[in-house]
Assembly symmetry: C2
Homo-oligomer: 494 residues x 2
């Protein structure tokens, strides 16, 4: 064992995903080189290293193309918001109390009015939309920005899931009618669902937040929820139908075809790097990071295995294969370092989540073959050298399908029903996951469950999908026994 | 004249580029929909509207691809820097006094240590690079981030040129040797030069800053300088060879092949949205914005001109042409609005800087032709319908060449020489532009010129290009008469 290989043990993940999920997650983030914690004095902040930032760039690319195809333009608004602007949201929201970072000094001078570092930008973007919208010809108006936001919540840091500063996009739109705004809200939710399912390989549930948990000022907050392997739900992204409340507070009106002034209807929608947390948490295992090929920085790693007498032929065979994959548009790395042995390389690429490994030794060269190994389950098959790029694509697709299927199976098995309090508490206590239960709509009933088991209503179905919305049924609230009005999905949440 | 056309006058630019450059610039920025000023209480901040942000996205795309092709990985570091971290730069720089925005409160709590909103990130990135670098195998290490920074300078706001918050990228690298770091410094300067010349159509001068004007702590600060039409120089972008000063202050060492510990050599380099200011200022005119086709959001606008009896044939002919251009990868807009007359449309697209206009009326349909108009000079030619996409590309290239040639002619005519104080003052006073003069290297001599005419030394040639560097010549400093040691480029600067 060479000196380098002594580091192997220390490089590997030591915690168990099943039994020490939190510690395991932190270890994967650190050892796969995804993030570091912020400097001393800045708890809650992280440094996003290139391997994680590359994942974010793929998410950005995917969503940004969809946004642009559907009429969205990117813009950039100041990172600071004057306190008086933020205060105007009090017109909309009773008891609004922003937990933000405050800038009080510029250079050596104290500012006349303190500035909040943006926690979200409705209060600065909406006044500009108000200036830009004059007539119905200016609608719909859609702007989006990719930026970072700061929320000064004092909780334990969990990279990507819970940080004081995080990266996200926030879209803001104005429309002529409430129906148009609702269509927009759902279009963005659909795009978020695609990002989770088609790009990240994570199936989600779609629905809306209960009224008491909506975005302040929103008519409806819609959400995609993803189930993590520890049985907790992640709010994957939200899309808000804001109705006319922001248009009223910030005076967005337009003149219609008859020259009459009308209030616009607005939406906002956001997708954050929390999705990276869900990605890491969902697919990874006790060997380290697992990534779907759709987002993996390297999709295939080619590891040549040689002795001195076979080095030349093995390397040249491996190089040819790597080139062929690259020409086919596959992201491939040829790991021809001569300072590491193959076992070390296997472990390192497993830790880093490369979806497919090609092993190439003298036997593969002789037989004009390649040994292909899938990262998620170690499945190993031999394929012909001829047509290797097509074969690689087939195996990448298989790896994606395996990851998606495992996540889907987890989700489908973890939606249970209950019709009384004991059922909700017992089921979540024993299994985690989601428990569907009839609910009267009263926050107090959720509070009871929250107090006892720290689970909450993460979602209710859309109104038109919820049988309990109409009143001709006899279902009663699982907690208080009053008439049920919604189907509530209870779960512990991230 | 329809009701809408009444707005035409108000939409147009009213100031003169030649005689009221500053007011003209502000008007173009506003009327072409590029930016708005920030909210009350936030002077120095701007809102970047979609038309300007799209330009920034093209600059980003161009540079980001070059960076990635040359070994750079993107990352993201916290937007705040603890005061004690910033203070460590005092080890490097005497009298370092950052003019920054200070965060003093998080939520309702006062922070134990105040946090600076990043003015640049050396002091937070370098300590992490120090953690990541252990051995020579970790070098070179190159990270870059696209982000916004804040510098609390109390000067008049000029969108993109001077704002308290601005968008930029900052690259930070570490290398084994000083030569490697110098190569990196020059590679990035080359890429910045390409961005100005090939993408933005602006020729630049390359050189280095005089020692007293280097980036704090740098061995050498290199710069690309662009001459604006008002005769002032813009520092287009800078690339710094930092030597070992940051590595010493933040302890970046690596073990070499013989297991000896060495100090790394570092660089940093940044390109900001000031380039958009230079872009707007250089090419635009009294009709509004002028954009090179390389960055224009729409490269060709097709304007059909019809009467009711010709509407159908003209529109269908115009649509076919727009489709053909789009298929060829040209960014084309078909302006078929029936609420605006052609004259209004011409003015609007001129104001917005669309490089090429296609005019299509019944005559063009009959003759199977298109009338092509170049935005910069109004040149008008007729081309065949057959092969229209190729013809469009030819005209786009011609427009780029015209813009570049005009800027180049301006630059070449504006580099003059002087060998005494009166010559420097008189030449800059009369013509603006650059004045080359022999200089002793003493800041005091620059100060004299600064005080009298507000011009400064914006650049000296690279050491190896400067004949005055070696001592076997009799040239004397144009200001003090001592022996000359550098060739100084004096200019008024943005
Ligand atoms: Zn109830
Ligand atoms: Zn002198």
């Amino acid at each position: 064992m060479s000196e380098d290989d002594g580091a192997e043990q220390e490089l590997g993940v030591t915690k168990s995903k099943e039994y020490e999920t939190g510690e395991w997650y932190a270890e994967v983030v650190q050892k796969a080189g995804l993030a570091n914690y912020g400097p001393e004095g800045m708890s809650g902040f992280i440094v996003t290293r290139p391997r994680a930032y590359a994942l974010w760039e793929r998410v950005q690319g995917f969503l940004d193309a969809k946004f642009k195809d559907t009429g969205v333009q990117n813009a950039y608004f100041p990172m600071f918001i004057p306190e008086s602007y933020l205060e105007r949201e009090k017109d909309i929201v009773e008891g609004f109390d922003p937990e933000v970072a405050w800038v009080t000094h510029g250079g050596h001078e104290e500012l006349e009015e303190r500035l909040a570092v943006r926690p979200t930008s409705e209060s600065i973007i909406t006044p500009y939309i108000s200036q830009w919208v004059r007539s119905h010809r200016d609608l719909p108006l859609r702007v989006n920005q990719w930026c970072s936001v700061v929320r000064w919540e004092a909780t334990e840091t969990k990279p990507f899931f819970r940080t004081k500063e995080f990266l996200w996009q926030e879209g803001h739109t104005a429309h002529e009618t409430g129906e148009d705004a609702w269509e927009e809200t759902m279009l963005r939710l659909d795009q978020y669902e695609s990002a989770y399912e088609e790009l990240l390989g994570i199936p989600v549930l779609r629905g809306q937040k209960p009224d008491h948990d909506k975005f302040p000022g929103a008519d409806t907050t819609t959400t995609v929820e993803a189930l993590m392997p520890d049985g907790k739900s992640v709010q994957g992204a939200t899309s808000h139908h804001l109705g006319t409340s922001f248009a009223e507070a910030f005076d967005i009106t337009y003149s219609d075809e008859d020259e009459e002034e009308n209030l616009a209807h607005t939406t906002s929608w956001g997708f954050s790097w929390r999705a990276l947390g869900a990605l890491i948490m969902t697919h990874s295992d006790d060997q380290g990071l697992v990534l779907p090929p759709t987002v993996a920085p390297e999709q295939v790693v080619v590891v040549p295995i040689w002795q001195s007498d076979t080095q030349e032929e093995v390397l040249s065979y491996a190089e040819g294969i790597a080139e062929e994959l690259e020409e086919a548009g596959i992201r491939v790395e040829l790991d021809d370092r001569d300072t590491r042995n193959p076992g070390f390389k296997f472990n390192e690429h497993e830790l880093n989540g490369v979806p497919v490994r090609f092993e190439i030794g003298p036997h593969e060269v002789d037989d004009r073959e390649v040994t292909v190994v899938h990262r998620p389950d170690g499945e190993q098959v031999t394929v012909d050298r001829e047509g290797i790029a097509d074969a690689a694509q087939v195996h990448l697709d298989e790896v994606f399908a395996k990851l998606y299927a495992a996540a889907e199976e987890n989700l489908e098995g973890e939606v249970r029903e209950a019709d009384d309090r004991a059922g909700i508490l017992g089921t979540i206590g024993q299994h985690g996951g989601y428990v569907k239960a009839p609910w009267c709509g009263d926050e107090a009933c959720e509070d009871e469950i929250k107090e006892q088991i720290a689970a909450e209503i993460v979602m209710v179905p859309f109104e038109e999908d919820d049988d309990l919305r109409n009143e001709d049924h006899d279902e009663t609230c699982a907690i208080c026994g009053e008439g049920a009005r919604r189907t509530a999905y209870f779960a512990k949440a991230y």
